[in-house]
Symmetry: C2
Subunit: 380 residues, 2 copies
């Protein structure tokens, strides 16, 4: 969908993007703050439907690279994203016509808006992940064979580089190495392609979807309705059809390290036996993450012990049980009362080629992909 961002719908968009961030994608608050500054400075953020672009318009995916744990300590700048974009433009010898989010989650759905406002370019309502993923080759563009190179990358210290990698896996590997040396966070502009190619390869409408999710959660809070019911209703009729409450409980353990440029770890929730908790006391769920949540496994004394409740690329979201507000992996803390909510991914993200790129095996997980709606049927 096409729309112009206002301070009002920015809050909803940021919250919905944090849900699609599936625990990762960086702190949405920071990204929202940066977009807000652009709006206050009188700049426009124009989000345009893919259908409105000329076939040969040059579109570039903009994102931050690095561990979300670093972004908390170091506020990203609009200048960094624009520097990455300009480095790529100099290399291509051509101006970019539109910016596109690389991923539809958290900070990385906000940074393209910041860059677009700063560079006076429109943002395309589409992305390459349909959620957040930790690595830059984990995109539908790559699944379709679109090269991510040449890729512009810039630091907060006045450095930039253009990488031409042999393939998209090596692009991730090289850019990640530079990102670590750039201080653990870098600005990237990659996958330069025509709008025609974006139309064939992107997950469409994900900014619109984020706005819809955020609006549903806010409205539920305003009207004292259950936010999870509202979320499930909002997903109905989109490409992300199925929403499921997997678990409700308290965080009893968080194991998190920043290693190799990623935030990696596990979070364990235990059911408290409180009203509304769908589980017996003693039931647990363990979620493994690499920036984003990857797999949720049930633990406990009953027949579902060891059962996978949801697995990547389906979305596993940790949301505040009272408010439905998303909690990212770097903000997880002992004692938080959370609801684990899962969302099914569109068909374009479930093909064998897509699963090879960002399914369980791409993360070294020893479990097959099974669609959420089979793992966890809807409660009637």
């Amino acid at each position: 969908m096409s729309f112009t961002l206002t301070p009002e719908n920015l809050d909803d968009l940021a919250e919905g993007a944090a849900v699609l961030g599936t625990g990762g994608g960086g702190d949405p608050y920071i990204g929202r703050l940066l977009v807000e500054r652009q709006l206050r400075a009188g700049r426009d953020v124009r989000i345009v439907d893919l259908g409105t672009l000329r076939d040969d318009a040059l579109v570039v995916a903009v994102a931050m690279m690095g561990a979300p744990t670093v972004f908390i300590e170091k506020l990203p700048s609009p200048e960094g994203s624009v520097a990455a974009l300009r480095a790529l433009e100099r290399h291509l010898g051509r101006a970019v016509d539109a910016i596109m989010p690389l991923e539809a989650g958290g900070l990385n759905s906000m940074m393209p808006l910041v860059a677009a406002a700063a560079a006076d370019l429109p943002v395309v309502d589409a992305d390459g992940m349909g959620r957040a993923f930790p690595e830059i080759q984990m995109v539908t563009f790559n699944v379709a064979g679109v090269p991510g190179s040449p890729m512009g990358i810039a630091s907060d210290h006045g450095d930039s580089a253009v990488i031409e990698a042999a393939d998209n896996d090596r692009m991730e590997w090289l850019a990640r190495g530079l990102t670590i040396r750039m201080g653990g966070a870098a600005y990237t502009a990659s996958y330069p392609m025509s709008a025609a190619t974006v139309r064939e390869t992107a997950v469409p409408g994900t900014l619109g979807l984020a706005l819809r999710i955020g609006t549903a959660l806010r409205t539920a809070r305003e009207h004292h309705r259950d936010p999870f019911d509202a979320l499930t209703a909002a997903l109905r009729g989109t490409f992300y059809s199925h929403g499921r409450v997997l678990f409700r409980g308290k965080v009893v353990d968080v194991d998190r390290t920043t290693v190799g440029g990623f935030a990696r770890g596990q979070v364990t929730l235990a059911a408290g036996g409180e009203s509304g908790d769908p589980g017996d006391p003693g039931d647990r769920i363990v979620i493994t993450f690499q920036n984003e949540h990857l797999v949720a496994v049930r633990e406990g004394g009953h027949e579902r012990d060891g059962q996978v409740a949801a697995i990547v690329p389906d979305l596993i979201c940790t949301l505040n049980t009272e408010t439905g507000r998303p909690v990212t992996t770097e903000a997880l803390a002992y004692g938080q009362r959370l609801t684990v909510y899962a969302i099914s991914t569109p068909a374009i993200m479930r093909s064998p080629e897509a699963l090879a790129c960002f399914g369980p095996s791409a993360f070294g997980l020893d479990r097959p992909y099974t669609p959420l709606e089979e793992l966890t049927p809807a409660t009637p």
Copy 2:
């Protein structure tokens, strides 16, 4: 000086370059082999005096980056250097007119010849280090304020990148990060500048000097004369006036690790009390290296215990005692009979600015720079 390389003078040039490599710069045998292949393929290697170039000719410094320990396991390719050069040319939108060695030591005095033959360009008889140094900002160009960026860098896997760093220290830092991810060895093309600027900032004539040193050592061997006397005689009348035998003995300890993309360690030699050894039995010398030898310190029971015999940027060379052939840090082994020979550096490498860039403190050494000729006076 200007000359065209032949198979005959290649051997001398490679050996002299290995002496200037001061223990580092990579295995000279490998570089010589690669140049030989170019000559056998009928390509010319034309070395030209700085004076012959037009003021506005574009000159680029070519070098391998990485730990010499890696080059032994992975033979460098002409294609890699040309790929780095082409990446830089695309960025500059201009063809390079001449290649220059970044450093005058070991493998890195040979790779520019390989690249120049493969790209059909002349090589300028000058360099930025006047020896070998482990880091890319340790050049007289940097001392004079010439930016090393934009810098082309390429791997053996079909990847390339162009780095535009905020300064030359950051260029080293970022390129080293990429080099590690490129497999521990990478091809670089940096410090693009006009021939006029090269004339003002480079150490001139270092390829000619290497040829002179190599010829002196070979001739001494052929005529059964002392190679170290020949070396000292060859240096007389050049910018590298003073040569000194510091120590003669056997390797009794080598401590070497490859860490952070460098070969770091220490080698200890003990005097054997044999005929011709200038020292009592029990005398030792300990040389600390980071790719190249940095400081030689005397140990033993007499009054010179703890005394610095020579220190960076003066050259400390480990040469086979019988033949005068240089032994690089990665080839050092227990039991080798070596002569530690030091060479004074030209004035351009001893200014306060130069010492700040590649003197003892630049390597974290806690000792002041003292010229070789003061530390170790000539024996009459």
